[in-house]
Symmetry: C2
Subunit: 364 residues, 2 copies
Amino acid sequence: MDYSGRQQRLREDLRRHRLDALLVTHLPNIRYLCGFSGSSGALLVLTDSSTLFTDGRYTQQASAEVRAAKVKIVRNSPLIAAMEWLGRKALSGGTKSHVVGIEAQYLTVAARRSLSEAQSKRVRIKETAALVERARMIKDADEIQVIRSAVEHGAALFEAALQVLRPGVREVEVAAEMEYAARKGGAEGMSFETIIASGERSALPHGRASEATVAARGFVVCDFGVILHGYCSDRTRTVYMGAATGEARRVYAAVLASQQAAIAAVRPGASVSQVDGAARKVLKQHGLAQYFTHSTGHGVGLEIHEAPRVAQGQQEILRPGMVITIEPGVYLPGKWGVRIEDMVVVTEHGCEVLTPTQKELIVI
Amino acid sequence: MDYSGRQQRLREDLRRHRLDALLVTHLPNIRYLCGFSGSSGALLVLTDSSTLFTDGRYTQQASAEVRAAKVKIVRNSPLIAAMEWLGRKALSGGTKSHVVGIEAQYLTVAARRSLSEAQSKRVRIKETAALVERARMIKDADEIQVIRSAVEHGAALFEAALQVLRPGVREVEVAAEMEYAARKGGAEGMSFETIIASGERSALPHGRASEATVAARGFVVCDFGVILHGYCSDRTRTVYMGAATGEARRVYAAVLASQQAAIAAVRPGASVSQVDGAARKVLKQHGLAQYFTHSTGHGVGLEIHEAPRVAQGQQEILRPGMVITIEPGVYLPGKWGVRIEDMVVVTEHGCEVLTPTQKELIVI
C-alpha cells in the first residue's frame, strides 16, 4: 500500500486547511496512513514527518507494520503523549505557533478536554471533519485488488450457507458454517454480525442470526461479509424456503429491479441521492416504497460503513474508485422481508459489480 | 434483567449530580438500562420516565427488547431527536430550565457540537463521566448468572483448540475451530479477535491468529472469549508444543504464581492497584517484572474491557459483584511469551474464580 503517497496527499490537504499537523486518532485512518493495525495509538502527521504513538503491547507489531512514520512507544495515553511531544517541538522550533487538527467526528468530549490540559501555549487545536475519510472514499488500485479478494471470499460463504439452509436448522448454525468457511479461507473475521433472518424475522432489516429455526416456508435474508487484509466485504442474498407464493415472487422481482436500476445509475458525476432515488422510484412503481425503510447503500473499505452514504439528501458526487453497496430492501412488518445487496466500484464510465453470482430467486 | 431497578438507581445518581436528565448514547449503557441491543439509539432518562430514540430499522427489535422505557422511532439522528424532544418538553413545562447530562467519554466533539445546535434555551448541557459505567461495575445476580454461562461456554472452546493444536496447523485454523464451536454452542459472536500466537508471535501480547503455522516447539498463547446474551467472557491459556525447556517451565511457573498471588489479593476493600502489585511482586522476585508490559486485568461484562482497570496507579476499591480478569504475562521479545488469565467475581469475603479447569502447563 502506498502509505507515503497517502500522507503526501493529506499534507496538501493540511496546507489547504492551514494546519501544521493532524492528530489522527480514528484507528482505520491510522491504518490507512501508516499500516498500523493495533487497537491503541495516535498518529501525528506533520508537514515533514509522521510519528505513531502507541503503547508497550504493540512494540513488535508497530515495528513490523508501520511504514512512512516513526514509532514512539509511550507509557501514558498515546493521544496525550502526541500532544505533549508536539508542544515540546513547538517550543524548540522558534516563536511560530502550531495549529493541529483533531478528528472531531471521533475524538470524544472527554479526550478533547484532556488534550486541552496537555496543550502547550504554542499549540492551537482546530476541529476537522473527515480529512482522511474523504481521501479514503477513493480507493487506489492496491485497495481495489484487496477488496476484490474480500468480496470473492465473501461470496464463497453463501455456498456454505446454501449447503446447510434447510427447514429446522437454527439460524446461528447457518452463521456458524459461514464463519467457519470464512476463517478457514483466511479471513481475519466477519466485517459485521452475520444476519440470517428467516420467516417473520426477515422483516427485521438487522436480524442477526438467532436461535430461531428456519421454517419450512418463507424468505431467509442472509447478509454477511468478511475482513481480509483489513478490508471488508458486504453482501446480501435472500432465498425462499418451499414453494414461493406469487406475492413473494412479485416483491422479490421488485427489489431486484430496484437494485438493478440503482446499479445502472452508478457512474462518475451522478450524485448518491440520484442512485438512492433510482432504487426508490422502482419500488414506488410497485407500491412498495414505504416498506424500504433504510438508505440504498454505503461506502465500504477499511470499515464496513464508511463514506459516502448512498441516501436521500446526501450530496456526494460519485467518482472513479469509490466502492459502495447497493442494497434496497422491502420489509413487511410481521410478515417477511427481502433485501439484495452487491458491492460496486465506480469506474471511468459507469460501474463494475464486484459481487459475483446470479441474483435470481433461489428456492430451496 | 432488572431494568427498572437500574434506572431507579441511576435517577438517584442524577439527583446527586443535580441533573434533570441523562442522555445515554453509549450502546452498552443503553442495553444495560433498557435492554435495547440495536446499533443506533439514544436513551433519554428523566427523573420520572425514559424514552429510547432509534430509527426505522429497529422498529420491531425495539418493541421486542425495550423494557422500562418508551420507544420513539425517528427519521433524523436519534441523538438530535432526543435533544429536540427534551427542548419541547422543557418549553412546555414552565419556566424551569432542564440540566441534561451527556456521556463525555463517548460523545464525540462533532456530536457535542450538533447537540448545541439543537439545544433549546431552556436546556443546559453538562458533561458527566461514567455514571452508568460505575453502576455497571457491580454485577447483579442475573448478570453473574449470564456471565457464568458465557465463561463456561468459553471454556469449552479451549477443548476445541486442543483438538487441533498440532505442529503445522495454521493459527487461523485453530481460531476457526474455536469460533465454530462458539457459534454452534449459541454464542452471538466472539468478544474480541481470537488470539492464537505461536512461537515468536507468543511474545506479542495482542497476537491475533495469523496465517503462521504452529511450530513443533514453543509456546502458543490462546486468548479468547465469547458473547452470550450480550455478556462477554475472556480467558487465556498458554500451552507448549514439544518438550518444554527448563527456562520455559520456570517462566510459566512464575507467571502462574504471579496470577495466583493476584487472585489471592482479590477481596472487598482491596484496591485494584494492590491486586496489580501482587502480580508484579512475584514476577519481580523472578527477575521478570520488566517483561510484564501491560496491566493485570480489567472489568468484564457487556463490554470486553470495562471498569475497573486493574492496574498500577488506579484507585478503585473492589466491591462484591465486580467481575474482573486476572491476566499477568511475560513477553521476551523475539523469543516467546506466556500469559494466564481467569475471570473472577468479587464475593463478600474474597473472590470466586469463574473460569474452570486447571492451569498447569499443558504440553502437546
